[in-house]
Amino acid sequence: MVIKNRRIYENFDNFTTLSQMMTKDELIVDLDGFEGPLDLLLALSRSQKLDLMKISILQLAEQYLEFVEKARTLKIELAADYLVMAAWLAFLKSRLLIPADVDENEPSGEELAAHLAFQLERLQAMRDAAAQLMARDQLGRNFFARGIEEKVEKIRRIKYEASLLEIIQGYARIKTKDDFRPFVMDRDEVYTIEQALERMRGLIGYSIGWIDIFSFLPDGWTSSVNRIRAATASTFAATLELAKSGDLELRQSDSFGPIQFKSKGSGK
């Protein structure tokens, strides 16, 4: 058991007047000052004027029971935990007075008493420790922190990152933008049949005799191979359309020879 090798943590400050009250027999039972039955027991134990280690638990139990009895005769209501403690102490008292009738599993009266003594001593020790703690030098009372605090200024800097490669790629992206639109027809390389028809309709009225189709390509469509191809194909398709509707005649003298057309109106 823990009881051996103990030291005593006696503390004589705020000595409760309970024992004095008890001896004077003017027991005005005032429990307000006590923090539970253990605290009351601790106060009662002081009346024995002994080390906590040497106190008689039996005597203490009798004192407590006497106290509770007096409270009862004075018709003072005791909180339930004080009564529970009283019942337990009555049981302990009987255990201590009548030697245990040997149930090995049951704790002996001495063991129970020792544990109670331990609890009292531990509570007293904590109380003394608390007093020592509060007696220490304290911040704001005995020692002081810096009066003018200099706050650390938080500076959040944003650093932008870009690599040369990104810039080069960015430039390339802009300059080759058109190449990256695979699903969009490049309109400026396309001369539609509708465009060709419109142009032909407006011009055939003025034409006289047979004219080579290729000399009839629109302005600005001869600058590149692609444009020439587009304009030629559409113009040819348009002449076919106009021939079909009877607006003009087409002829080709031999294979791969020049294709010529003539307005029907002009031949009239």
Binding site: R122, R136, D137, F143
Partner: protein
Amino acid sequence: MIEEEELTGSLFEAPKIDQQERMVEAILFASAEPVTLKEIISRLPHGCEPEQALKNLQEKYKSSGINLVKVGECWALRTAADLSFLMQKETIEVRKLSRAAVETLAIIAYHQSVTRAEIEEIRGVSVSRGTIDLLMELDWIKIGRRRMSPGRPVTFATTQNFLDHFGLESARDLPGLKELKSAGLLESPPPPGSVLTEKMLEDEDQQNDLFNEEKTI
């Protein structure tokens, strides 16, 4: 005036020790709160190892009106306690703590980490919500790890601020701790007659571990 060049040195060369001392001094001086070693390092130029500077400063301030104290993992400058009589003006009126609050604080400090049930068992009375709240509000206690026992109750432990307030370097420096420990008064033996369950043994191990663990740090 010392050039910043000289202070920060090159990118790879740490400033000289006397410069490091000045910097650590300034950092600690500017803060009312204790500063962690990590924070000090993070604010010093690259390559500084302020442990030596701290040691030198502690020595330098030893006999002065200001002392360099270690608080847990932190460092702080504080006025020397023997000069408190000069400081009426700065003294903060502290609300007087109730006996319940003081005792509860002591139990948490000496037994940490400790559950509410254990505090109640030691004091023999239930702990009111208000007491715990007050100690939390003062930032003297905090909720620690949950106990690995049925119900997984929360435990309470003291804070960095507790150490700072009571001028303790660590919880191991609590007055009389060693004596209490060797007297077995920081233990919570089960009452005789109760069955020693594995859970309780485990709990106790854990509890003892905390201070042992700390010792090995």
